[in-house]
């Protein structure tokens, strides 16, 4: 802002590109491209017509049907359970990894960092088929387990692709830690573990929270990897929606999708707000 304020002209500054109409048009066009399909989807979930093209009046019928659909409910509960458990595990593993990489110098460190980047660089489909083979041939996950346990294979798969994301978020947060605080605690007689728990972990907290939320969203949103690891009893919400979409475009799917959009957007907004990061403070 200081750049433009210095200029004597009342016209927009030379670098104030957003004030130029071609760029405004471009941004507006991009916004329409990104939002029009999603907004029509959400609006038409309230449309009182099966054909779903022309507006025939407002209805909540499809939401009623979605909320009463037992298989959708079951899938949704599965998704939430998987997301919660895998988030807790990912945060624990991710925090340990971040501390390890931040604090210590050790042989094979580069190897560990390389292995951590696998979930980021390997295409999802390859991870998906790898888990499919692993959980059917190598460590067959028993199918007859009681409810939360039968989700184990999916939870493990989700943790293994999301904890390295958590690790990188937490590590970025640790970079701003002032080592003198730790030294002060040690000088004052705190043990190594006490210092970790009372000084370092509280500093990590925003990173843990942001990482946890990232893991939660990654898990809740994941389709490809879950598609290969889920069995008939362990359908998740995206896998269920996928099977509905394959047949046709229906108002029920619109309603279910709208619910999921609202949930993810709300969760992320809450996270940004709690985290108090730049984007969060300015935007919300």
């Amino acid at each position: 802002m200081a750049d433009t304020a210095r200029l004597p002209k009342p016209k927009p500054g030379p670098l104030d590109y957003l004030a130029r109409w071609p760029l405004r048009l471009w941004v507006a066009g991009t916004a329409v491209f990104l939002y029009a399909p999603l907004i029509t989807l959400m609006v038409f979930s309230f449309n009182n017509s099966r054909r779903n093209i022309v507006w025939r009046g407002f209805t909540l019928d499809y939401y009623g049907q979605v909320l009463q659909d037992e298989s959708l409910q079951h899938a949704f509960v599965n998704s939430l359970t998987i997301a919660l458990v895998s988030t807790v595990l990912s945060v624990i593993l991710g925090a340990a990894t971040a501390l390890l990489l931040w604090r210590f110098r050790f042989p094979f460190k580069a190897g560990l960092e390389g292995a951590l980047s696998i979930p980021i660089v390997v295409p999802e489909i390859c991870m998906g088929v790898a888990f499919l083979v692993f959980f059917t041939k190598v460590v067959p996950w028993p199918t007859a387990l009681p409810w939360p346990l039968n989700l184990g294979a999916i939870i493990i798969a989700h943790v293994s692709f999301s904890f390295s994301f958590v690790a990188s978020v937490v590590r970025a947060r640790l970079a701003s830690f002032n080592r003198e605080m730790e030294e002060a605690a040690r000088d004052l007689g705190a043990s190594e573990w006490r210092t970790l728990m009372d000084i370092i972990v509280p500093h990590m907290q925003p990173g843990l929270f942001a990482g946890g939320l990232l893991a939660f969203t990654l898990s809740l949103d994941d389709f490809v990897i879950t598609f290969f690891t889920s069995g008939p009893d362990t359908i998740t919400f995206p896998v269920k929606v996928y099977s509905m979409i394959r047949f046709s475009v229906t108002p029920e799917v619109n309603a279910a999708s709208t619910l999921l959009i609202v949930i993810t957007v709300a969760l992320t907004a809450i996270a940004l707000r709690l985290q108090g990061g730049d984007a969060g403070r300015d935007a919300l």
């Binding site: 104030d16 957003l18 991009t30 489909i125 790898a130 888990f131 692709f161």
Partner: protein, 304 residues
């Protein structure tokens, strides 16, 4: 990170070991092992219905060089490059507008780009299906406009346009590339923005003051300075596009299948796991090559 001095692991062995154990066990058991098994399978063949024998054969890779699969791999690459190119062209001005916007509007614009990014991939793809299908909103809108135009021309006795034929927008290559662009665009804009946000604005002002036009400043100052951002934007768009499964699966037709769809078929319907494993690894090698290429590019633009 600069002032952070790492201590040697041997200074506090207890803590090192307890931090190391969990992540390493998990990585080896649930990430490296599954990938290693797939890699092993790619040198084997199926025997009977369920049995897979790993005998060190290169037959699967030879089979993958069959023109049919080679052309699908090539097509995936063309789709991914096309998607990346379109995202770069569409995303660059958007990233620039965000960078040079006033702080309040910048936060809103960032939110505008991020919001679809938080929305489930499956749902975004489904939203596109609803828009593009024969009786979707695009065709209905076009039909309406066509009807109006035809009516106007008929009343003026100029021409008869005839009935509107809906465009085939779904289940073809066009839909797949459009879908990939739709899904990947935020991935391109964010790294571009973070690279341009860091650049020194006085350089741009200097260029403008010294008489270069905006376009010349853009191509000779902004683009070279934003090169690391462009490289990482290209990478984060190219890799997911190359391995995209859902988009071609839902939006593509019979002739717009990408490599991920072939892999899926080998593991599900066709039940030829060793061949699917070989294809997965070919896809991974192509991905790694792209990353290696990018890291060769990056140091030139300056390290972060």
């Amino acid at each position: 990170m600069a002032e952070n001095v790492e201590e040697p692991w041997s200074r506090s062995k207890g803590m090192f070991a307890s931090l190391l154990a969990g992540p390493v066990v998990f990585l080896f058991l649930f990430l490296l092992a599954p990938l290693a098994i797939i890699w092993g399978y790619s040198f084997g063949h199926t025997q009977g219905l369920k049995e897979i024998v790993v005998d060190g054969t290169f037959g699967n890779y030879a089979h993958a060089l069959n023109p049919l699969y080679l052309s699908i791999l090539l097509k995936s690459f063309v789709f991914a490059v096309l998607t990346t190119g379109i995202c770069l062209v569409v995303g660059f001005p958007v990233a620039m507008a965000i960078t040079f916007a006033k702080p309040q509007s910048r936060a809103w614009l960032l939110l505008l780009i991020m919001l679809p990014f938080w929305t489930n991939l499956l749902i975004r793809t489904y939203a596109l299906m609803a828009v593009l299908r024969t009786q979707g909103y695009v065709n209905v809108l076009l039909g309406f406009l066509w009807g109006g135009l035809s009516h106007a021309l008929a009343t003026l006795h100029l021409a008869h346009l005839g009935a509107f034929h809906p465009l085939d927008l779904l289940y073809n290559n066009f839909a797949v590339v459009l879908g990939l662009v739709y899904v990947q665009l935020p991935f391109m804009v964010l790294p571009l923005y973070s690279a341009m946000d860091r650049l020194d604005r006085s350089l741009l002002e200097a260029s403008l003051d010294l008489g270069a036009g905006h376009l010349r400043t853009l191509f000779q100052v902004v683009v070279p300075l934003a090169m690391p951002g462009i490289a990482s934007g290209v990478l984060v768009t190219l890799i997911p596009s190359l391995g995209a499964f859902l988009t071609p699966d839902l939006l593509g037709g019979v002739d717009s299948q990408m490599i991920a769809n072939v892999i899926e078929r080998q593991f599900k319907a066709a039940n030829d796991w060793p061949f699917g494993a070989a294809l997965s690894f070919l896809l991974m090698y192509v991905t790694f090559a792209a990353i290696a290429l990018q890291s060769m590019f990056t140091p030139k633009g300056g390290r972060r």
